[in-house]
């Protein structure tokens, strides 16, 4: 069971990193509605592939959750209110926003920093509005720079 979980973990990492790098070769641009309407957001063209990957990751994560770690510590809490994809998109949007607009680091360093959390698949930087949108499979998150004192805030 543990070996199976580790194999799945390796596959999961592989998939995550592959998608993480795919942001530079995304082929299709779509416009989001509402307050995001003026911003191009880049997504994968192969939505079916993404759907399969999402299922695989969620399933793999649950297996790993059961098989690898629960015998080491008694994890009493689990938060089901937010998907993995949404968590990682929110992390990416918020922390990338801070890195770019608060620290004023380069995009290269900021991408390196936030990739410590996996599942990222795409981002959009709007320097004029000082906003960051991040996408992880079907989940989107959006962070906005407020001001010098208060930095960035996760909007949705």
């Amino acid at each position: 069971m543990k070996h199976l979980a580790l194999i799945l973990a390796a596959l999961l990492f592989t998939l995550n990193f592959a998608h993480g790098e795919s942001e530079f070769s995304l082929s299709e641009q779509v416009r989001k509605e509402g307050h995001l309407e003026n911003i191009d957001f880049i997504v994968d063209s192969d939505e079916m592939e993404a759907m399969k990957a999402k299922f695989e990751i969620e399933f793999g994560a649950e297996i790993i959750d059961i098989g690898v770690l629960t015998d080491k510590r008694d994890f009493k809490l689990k938060y089901e209110g937010t998907s993995w994809a949404k968590l990682s998109a929110s992390y990416y949007a918020k922390e990338f926003c801070s890195c770019i607009f608060v620290v004023a680091q380069s995009e290269k360093v900021c991408k390196r920093n936030v990739k410590q959390v996996p599942l990222f698949t795409g981002l959009r930087i709007d320097r004029k509005r000082r906003e960051i949108q991040a996408r992880s499979f079907f989940a989107y998150s959006y962070a906005r720079y407020e001001n010098k004192r208060h930095g960035c805030i996760l909007v949705e």
């Binding site: 994560a61 959750d65 998150s141 996760l154």
Partner: protein, 406 residues
């Protein structure tokens, strides 16, 4: 497995191997040293000094430890340790050493420089400590106040009287006994209370999210390292000072008074400051804060912003760490939102930095953020980073920094 999956696998393997093989050296961005951090009238007196007075052999050893020279391994792999952008492992970005109020070593990497802020992550918890001290000094709150004097009970909290037994002191000691799982690794995002609070279901009102957790047992009895406890301290500060004063509190009560410029503290949608994690400072400003705390909160003019002996209180071991039941043990001793160089035999906690004096204490954050203060040597060591490993040797950092003083 489909052909595409196989491709992904090889892509991943190639990425990792490529990153290891293609690492390249980076140049020092800034190396100015010898800046006087003396605070005068809330400002700073800056004067350049050189490092010629430092023992050159010790200086070389110190620099080699924090920024290793790229190693020649073969023609195909020219170096393995220089390129911070591709290297896994330790990634030191800022190092600052302050002795007797003067910078004796200062170097930057990854594009950072002296006027660029760095995220402090959980070093901010030890900055939060001072705001509680200031509030106590100003009579806005007491360490023994119940959290229920400042926060409404609701949801699960309303069903147990234990929640109202939590005091400000308990929160400072990470001993609220609220159930909490801080950071459990990449594959445990949905089990991380911290992740749920910042990026998940708790993000719209972080203090309410934390306070609605159940409890492990009576308040003050369980040590659990928790960003949630720090969030509650900021919620208490907001109620103690009121919304209007809270808005500017970090600057009016502390940062402006000790000469810190351009500090950023991010907030949740309710306006609650994330002072224990999402705080950004220039490294020299962090050094100024450390000097302020080293001086026990006494300003150059003699005014004290902190209560008497606040540093001693803050660096005394949290009672919950002595002889606890082991279910929530930690590998280091903690005081009031500071980490201590102390062994705890009853809890099987070893001395973390055997080469450092016993009075050494530290603030630490994820990805290798480190602020070490040694009062007996009047020494401050700052190391900010983006580590991908947890192997950075803080004991060696202290040992080599101490060697600079000889």
């Amino acid at each position: 497995m489909s052909f595409k999956r196989v491709t992904y696998t090889w892509f991943f393997v190639a990425t990792i191997v490529g990153a290891m093989l293609l690492a390249a050296p980076v140049a020092t961005i800034a190396g100015a040293a010898g800046v006087d951090l003396t605070m005068e009238g809330g400002g700073t007196n800056v004067s350049d000094m050189d490092t010629s007075a430092l023992p050159q052999q010790g200086l070389a050893a110190f620099r080699e430890f924090i920024f290793p020279t790229p190693r020649e391994t073969s023609k195909e792999t020219p170096n393995m340790s220089g390129d911070l952008d591709t290297r896994l492992g330790d990634k030191t970005e800022v190092v600052l050493v302050v002795h007797k109020g003067k910078i004796i070593f200062e170097e930057y990497r990854s594009g950072y420089h002296k006027d660029m802020p760095h995220q402090l992550w959980s070093i901010g918890k030890s900055v939060t400590n001072a705001f509680i001290g200031i509030a106590v000094q100003e009579g806005k709150l007491s360490l023994n106040d119940s959290i229920c004097e400042y926060l409404e009970t609701q949801g699960e909290v309303a069903n147990t009287s234990w929640h109202c037994d939590i005091t400000v002191r308990n929160l400072l000691h990470w001993s609220s006994s609220l159930k909490w799982q801080e950071w459990l690794g990449l594959f445990k995002l949905k089990r991380s209370s911290m992740f749920a609070m910042f990026y998940g279901e708790g993000r719209s009102d972080t203090a309410r999210f934390v306070f609605n957790h159940g409890m492990e047992g009576p308040a003050g009895k369980h040590f659990t390292y928790s960003t949630g406890d720090t969030v509650l301290l900021w919620a208490i500060l907001r109620r103690a000072y009121g919304e209007a004063e809270y808005e500017t509190l970090p600057w009016t009560k502390l940062f402006d008074r000790i000469g810190l410029t351009d500090v950023t503290i991010e907030r949740d949608p309710t306006g609650l400051y994330f002072g224990g994690s999402h705080i950004f400072m220039k490294p020299r400003d962090l050094a100024r804060y450390a000097q302020f705390f080293l001086n026990d909160g006494v300003l150059p003019g003699g005014e004290s912003l902190l209560p008497p002996n606040w540093r001693n209180f803050s660096t005394a071991l949290a009672p919950s760490m002595i002889g606890h039941n082991g279910s929530h043990t930690h590998d280091m001793g903690a005081g009031a939102h500071w980490w201590l160089n102390i062994a705890i035999s009853k809890s099987n906690v070893e001395l973390p930095w055997p080469d450092a004096p016993a009075d050494t204490f530290a603030a630490m954050g994820v990805f290798g953020q480190t602020l070490i203060i040694i009062p007996s040597r009047d020494l401050i060591i700052i190391r900010l980073a983006n580590d991908w490993s947890r192997e950075f040797d803080r004991n060696r950092l202290v040992k080599l920094a101490l060697a600079l003083l000889k």
